[in-house]
């Protein structure tokens, strides 16, 4: 589930408020959005890749909140790790042209 909106990284663009399919975030005036409906999060990680500043962290557990601190996520280099793995940058798509999944499909036959 969504756990962290990093105040240090967030530029309050509110893209996550719009892009989250579960409507988890609420915008705040001149401040980072807040996680208003965490229980609705479907743990799809898409908010992370739409965030232009890698300010969001989704913990892998889908059944309830996880106790994680921003400092440990920062230290582990996990902010933006999904976007980097895909090849997305600054909230924009990239990397689909290098997707080797066709090799997996050939190998699984």
């Amino acid at each position: 589930m969504i756990e962290i909106v990093s105040a240090g990284r967030c530029i309050a663009c509110d893209i996550c408020v719009k892009a989250c399919p579960a409507n988890v975030f609420d915008p705040m005036p001149d401040a980072p959005p807040v996680i208003a409906r965490q229980e609705d999060c479907q743990t799809c990680f898409l908010c992370e890749i739409y965030c232009p500043t890698d300010a969001l962290y989704v913990a892998p557990g889908a059944e309830g909140p996880t106790a994680v601190s921003e400092a440990e996520i920062e230290a582990a280099g996990l902010f933006g790790s999904y976007a980097r793995a895909l090849g997305w940058r600054r909230g924009k798509p990239g990397g689909a042209d290098k997707d080797p999944t066709f090799r997996l499909r050939a190998a699984s036959r």
Partner: protein, 538 residues
């Protein structure tokens, strides 16, 4: 591309957003996007409303999906024959041909439009795979460029009618808590399947809303007993993606391997999960495959990486999560090749429609469903545009009647009752456990139906809430309705076939090579329909 005429925006009554259009598309996944693009190409005015965000909503956006993509000719005929042999007699080869034909055409169009397909080892674009986030980001831009008005976070709560035809929908803008009403010449339901409240990718929006709205308009469901598809998922994540599991081995708590050789792995793991914890490990992947898996399926590794687990070297807890009708089969019965529903002006596409004619009694997960979303969305969008053109601008001003029942217009005196969250918990309790849904038996189905019927009756006695509360209660109502159709159909099909596994009737019965239709809300009726009688394309 034809730029659509602007959508008429008129008559602000109080705070309600009041619009009129030719075609209203409800949904935010690939079927909705393809329907909108196709209807716009026909010159119709289009509004697309989604309860989430077109680009991230649905089961496709968070995934990496294959497509069913086979060139015309002998190879295609052979692929259909191979597939048909697996469908337990319920599929129709003509629908496979049509789906492959349209998907072939539209995937080539996607390449022409500039979607960044990878090149295969021969240097040619590989069109048989779509990376979900990129694909749906691309489709959103395509829909916008077609002149479609997109309203995100605008859940539809009910359909509107004029005479016997569907004439629009009404709902709420959940970020502004403002009601909306859109009159339309035709409506496409591309609202996805129902995941019964399971924690899987896309499930937040996949609550069966389109089924409920369609049933209230008089449409019927088909194949709802085919709603017992389950997916391997690293615990406790929501990553119900199967591809890496092709290289997995499974073991019990004590380390003893689960023998799946030559057997249905899902069944063997389901049996073991009823006795205790099960663990998986991707130990069958070569080093080369491991690299491709990490590069090609990065989301599958997030839960494991972020838990500090090396999925190739260690074993980790795995579970089976229910995918309901999302990667199950059942949905709104199609009445014609144009994805009409039998209700004038109402069309269904993607997982909102029954996929029996394409996939029979087995999952269409992965390739077939993905190609189905493209093809059925295209057909529905095209037909809706034609239907809307016949009544031209009349849709803008005709009087409309609200069709929503449960949680919107109660029949009986107002009462307090179960909350939406309590109703969802009831659905989860009956629909997710392996011993109730994966392995079915008549006595347990009857007990579940009793509880689900009671929850439905409770909900029907309640006074309607306001916009946001009504939206939550409508989702709960749709989940309960879907569950009741699923289990009533499962009870009626007293045999086992494909994903429908009856412990008390473990063999297939040749007398059940037929479709089961589910209709009704306060009372559910199951009707047997012989294949080829009144089914489309006959």
């Amino acid at each position: 591309m034809t730029a659509a005429r602007p959508v008429a925006r008129h008559r602000h009554r109080g705070e309600t957003l009041d619009l009129a259009t030719d075609v209203l598309v409800i949904g935010g996944g690939p079927a909705a996007a393809w329907a909108a693009v196709e209807a716009a190409a026909a010159g119709a005015r289009i509004v697309l409303v989604d309860k989430g965000y077109l680009g991230t909503s649905g089961a496709t956006a968070p995934s990496n999906t294959g497509t069913w993509f086979v060139p015309p000719g002998d190879r295609r005929r052979a692929a259909i024959d191979r597939r048909l042999a697996l469908t337990h007699g319920l599929a129709d080869p003509r629908w496979a041909h049509r789906t492959l034909d349209t998907a072939w055409e539209k995937l080539h169009a996607l390449a022409e439009w500039g979607y960044p397909f990878p090149n295969d080892e021969t240097g040619k674009p590989y069109l048989a795979n779509l990376r979900g986030p990129d694909y749906m980001h691309f489709m959103r831009r395509r829909v916008r460029r077609a002149g479609v008005k997109i309203l995100d976070h605008h859940p539809a709560l009910e359909l509107l009618s004029h005479g016997d035809a569907v004439a629009g929908a009404a709902g709420v803008d959940r970020q502004r808590n403002r009601p909306w009403r859109i009159r339309a010449g035709a409506v496409v339901l591309a609202t996805g399947g129902c995941a019964f409240g399971e924690r899987i990718l896309g499930a937040t929006g996949l609550t069966g809303d389109g089924y409920l709205m369609a049933a209230e308009a008089g449409a019927v469901m088909s194949g709802m007993e085919l709603s017992a598809q389950y997916a391997f998922t690293p615990k406790p994540s929501a990553l119900n993606k199967g591809l890496p599991f092709r290289w997995a081995s499974f073991s019990r708590e004590d380390g003893s391997p689960i023998d799946t050789a030559g057997k249905d792995r899902h069944v063997e793991v389901a049996k073991a999960l009823q006795e205790g914890s099960v663990f998986a490990q991707y130990d069958k992947a070569s080093p080369e495959l491991r690299n491709w898996l990490r590069q090609g399926q990065p989301n599958c590794f997030l839960p494991l990486d972020r838990s500090g687990v090396d999925p190739f070297a260690e074993r980790w807890p795995v579970t089976l999560r229910c995918e309901g009708t999302v990667r199950g089969v059942g949905g709104i019965r199609l009445a014609g090749e144009d994805c009409s529903t039998g209700v004038p002006g109402l069309y269904a596409a993607g997982d909102a429609a029954s996929r029996e004619l394409l996939t029979g009694a087995i999952t269409g997960g992965g390739g077939p469903n993905s190609s189905w979303a493209i093809a059925s969305g295209t057909w529905a969008g095209r037909a809706a545009a034609v239907f809307a053109a016949r009544i031209a601008g009349q849709a803008d001003n005709r009087p409309v009647t609200r069709l929503g029942g449960a949680a919107l217009q109660p029949e009986l005196a107002s009462e307090e009752g179960l909350s939406a969250a309590e109703i969802v918990e009831t659905v989860r309790g009956e629909m997710l456990p392996l011993q109730r849904n994966f392995f079915r038996r008549a006595d347990a189905l009857q007990i579940s139906l009793g509880r689900l019927d009671a929850a439905w009756s409770d909900l029907r006695r309640q006074a309607p809430g306001d916009g946001l509360a009504a939206a939550k209660m409508r989702e709960a109502a749709a989940m309960i309705a879907t569950s009741r159709w699923a289990y009533a159909s499962a009870l009626a099909r007293s045999e086992s076939r494909g994903m429908h596994r009856r412990l008390d009737a473990p063999a297939a019965d040749p007398g059940f090579v037929c479709a089961l239709e589910a209709a009704g809300l306060d009372r559910v009726h199951i009707t047997r329909r012989e294949l080829g009688q009144g089914t489309p394309a006959q």
